[in-house]
């Protein structure tokens, strides 16, 4: 799914929803290479990585690359999702789809608002 840059919302709440859509599109692409029982549910509460998470480190790396590409297509600029250690439980932004959407929304805000 490509989310057009012209539709990129400006305010916080709708930006969060937009990021969520991009994440779901990435999940959908990643699911194609995951066994049926490991496929990721498209809900904010889904645990991605860490205890009870669906992704191992290889799966997370693939997910990061897919998501970065879709964010680039959607927002028109590159967003680095590995600047803060994605595998660290201390940062924890890849813990759930909701935490990831929050993290990305903050990155987008910083990029667009300087």
């Amino acid at each position: 799914m490509n989310v057009s840059v012209t539709q990129t919302p400006q305010n916080g709440a709708s930006r969060f929803d937009h990021v969520l859509k991009v994440i779901y599109a990435s999940v959908s692409e990643l699911n194609q290479q995951l066994p049926k029982e490991q496929r990721i549910e498209q809900t904010p509460a889904t645990v991605l990585f860490g205890d009870g998470g669906r992704l191992d480190s290889l799966g997370l790396a693939n997910f990061i690359v897919i998501t970065e590409q879709k964010l680039d297509e959607s927002f028109g600029f590159q967003i680095d999702l590995t600047a803060d250690d994605p595998f660290s439980s201390a940062t924890g932004h890849f813990r759930t789809i909701h935490s990831l959407a929050t993290y990305i929304s903050d990155l987008v805000t910083r990029k667009t608002e300087g």
């Binding site: 692409e29 990643l30 194609q32 290479q33 995951l34 066994p35 049926k36 480190s57 290889l58 790396a61 693939n62 990061i64 690359v65 897919i66 970065e68 590409q69 590995t82």
Partner: protein, 590 residues
């Protein structure tokens, strides 16, 4: 458009594919495991970076497959020097390439087939731009290395070079991901590996002989633009100074290319037959003519019923058929009525027809033989035979009038590809339905007292080519027929009896006592049992035997030629059975 093939059958045995690479291919393993298309593949990643040791001492079964996917700069150290701007001697590159190629050739005995991926470079490796294609430029060297590797592996019967660049193109500009390389030691993003998984499955299906063999086509708005019955042949859109007409002509070109590779063509069209045939015969830009099609049903009947008839006429199962029609209703009908038939979704945009056909991987084959190139003509000859047969009252009279000639020849380099193809594709007249790679067959023949002959068949209507195989194994005073395989194109023309008579003559020349054959039933080889039951051999359940003190009669009216040399199965004693059908005994009754 995704190119569909059949989905996996429940209970289908998984093929094991060893992933041998100098980078991490675990994601490819996941893509293969989670791709629902047939065949089912279990990937076994070897430790990455261990290419040479794994190839030389694999922990594999001879029925396993292997994928060898390497980075050029890792496997050919001289290429890395070139990437770093150092001058590299071509002799060094050649020596390094030969070392890799020799290792692959040595490994072929461990696997049913090895797929080697051609080398690629990421787009950002510009190699000084303009200098990239000059002496020691990385792009020029990469082209050379790929060509040298292709040449090196050209004659291997079980190593296939796959085009890795195609997978990169499919994934787009981000095919290479430096981030993934640093994170996981995988240079490619998942889309590349998904494309690779699809092609690998098609390649394995091709080696296993399960590719599709028949393309059934609609006519109006599929082969040409317009409804010929309404607008007349002079107003069809085909060729000319018209973008749609050109697109249809290109589509016909793509179909003709498949035909030249041995894919059978047939027509299923709702039309008046005389009008449609007139268009095929008289339109000045028509590339495909009526004689290019092995069979046709041009009528107003249900297309699913017509497709069933076409498959029956051509002696093919429905799992061999692909149906292309511009009309979604017809596609849905055939899909629902005949789930074994592959019905690809078809674009509305006519300019995408040729490229959509090109994307189908269900026709992939491991080799193209002379028989493939002339297959459509052979079926046309068969249709002529059937017409002639209809005018002759008795089967015996017909067989005599056909002037059939059979030539027996030993297994050799010259017939190897066709023998392996026939062995792996034949279902109906197949005694044991052994499926072997070229290497496995070679290994089998070099162990014990074993022989294999190929049989070429022709008659007054044309040359059917190499269409029969018989192999046997000698044990003490007994010869046991292992492979008894015949193309459906020549079944029922007494060639079966010629093959048996040859085996008997051969066994007698060796002074053996008995010739045996054991029928292993499958879902499709009942015709083989029918033949053996009427062969005159003694029968106990599925086992058949013939005392070699008795000659087995060559069928009357068939000219047989060839020498069955027995030197390699007789423990060093050279014995030859000069085939001679002139002393034919009366034909056995059916």
């Amino acid at each position: 458009m995704d190119a569909p093939r059949s989905n996996q059958n429940q209970g289908e045995t998984a093929v094991k594919l060893h992933l041998i690479s100098d980078f991490n291919l675990d994601t490819l393993g996941n893509c293969l495991a989670n791709n629902d298309l047939s065949p089912r593949v279990t990937a076994q990643p070897a430790p990455f970076g261990q290419v040479f040791p794994t190839l030389l001492q694999p922990n594999s079964d001879p029925s396993d497959f292997a994928l060898v996917w390497t980075l050029p700069e890792k496997i050919i150290p001289g290429f890395e020097q070139a990437l770093n701007g150092e001058q590299v001697d071509e002799t060094q590159l050649r020596a390094e390439l030969n070392q890799f190629g020799d290792c692959l050739l040595a490994a072929q005995k461990h696997f049913r087939a090895i797929f080697v991926v051609s080398w690629t470079l990421p787009g950002y490796r510009r190699g000084n731009g303009m200098l990239s294609m000059r002496k020691s430029g990385p792009r020029k060297l990469l082209l050379k290395l790929n060509l040298m590797l292709a040449d090196k592996l050209e004659d291997s019967p079980s190593i296939y070079l796959l085009d890795g660049q195609r997978w990169l193109d499919e994934a787009g500009k981000n095919a290479y991901s430096p981030k993934l390389w640093y994170l996981t030691k995988t240079p490619f993003q998942p889309k590349v590996l998904s494309a690779a998984a699809r092609d690998l499955k098609a390649a394995i299906a091709a080696v296993l002989g399960s590719s599709r063999k028949l393309l059934v086509l609609d006519l109006d708005d599929t082969l040409w633009g317009g409804i010929v019955g309404d607008v007349g042949l002079e107003n069809l859109r085909l060729g000319g100074h018209d973008h749609i007409g050109e697109a249809f002509l290109d589509f016909q070109r793509a179909i003709k290319a498949l035909r030249n590779r041995g894919i059978l063509l047939a027509i299923a069209s709702k039309n008046e037959e005389n009008i449609a045939l007139e268009a095929l015969g008289k339109h000045p830009e028509m590339l495909l003519r009526a004689e290019d099609f092995a069979a046709r049903r041009i009528n107003w009947n249900d297309k699913a019923a017509n497709i069933v008839e076409l498959a029956e006429e051509l002696n093919l199962g429905l799992q061999s058929v692909v149906f292309i029609d511009d009309n979604p209703v017809e596609r849905a009908r055939v899909r629902e009525a005949l789930p074994e038939v592959l019905v690809p979704e078809w674009p509305e945009d006519k300019t995408l027809y040729a490229s959509s056909l090109g994307e189908l991987d269900c026709f992939d084959s491991a080799y193209v033989t002379a028989e493939d190139a002339s297959r459509n003509e052979m079926y046309a000859e068969e249709a002529e035979r059937k017409r002639a047969r209809a005018t002759i009252t008795s089967a015996e009279e017909w067989l005599l009038s056909a002037q059939t000639a059979v030539k027996a020849e030993e297994f050799s380099e010259a017939n190897r590809e066709r023998v392996v193809q026939l062995l792996n594709k034949t279902n109906q007249m197949n005694l044991m339905t052994r499926r072997l790679s070229s290497q496995e067959l070679q290994n089998w023949l070099s162990g014990g007292r074993r022989k294999l002959w190929a049989f070429r068949v022709s008659d007054r209507f044309g040359d059917s080519g190499l269409t029969g195989i018989l192999s046997l194994e000698v044990d003490g005073g007994t010869a046991r027929i292992v492979d008894f395989v015949m193309s459906c194109r020549v079944m029922g023309r007494n060639v079966e009896r010629v093959m048996v008579a040859c085996a008997v003559q051969y066994g007698s020349a060796l002074g053996l006592e008995e010739l045996q054959a054991e029928y292993l039933p499958t879902a499709k080889n009942k015709p083989c049992l029918t033949f053996w039951t009427s062969s005159g051999f003694g029968q106990k359940e599925n086992r058949f035997s013939w005392p070699l003190r008795d000659p087995y009669p060559f069928p009357a009216g068939i000219e047989v030629d060839g020498v069955l040399s027995a030197s390699s199965t007789s423990g060093g004693t050279a014995v030859s059975a000069q085939l001679d059908s002139r002393d034919s005994l009366p034909q056995l009754s059916n």
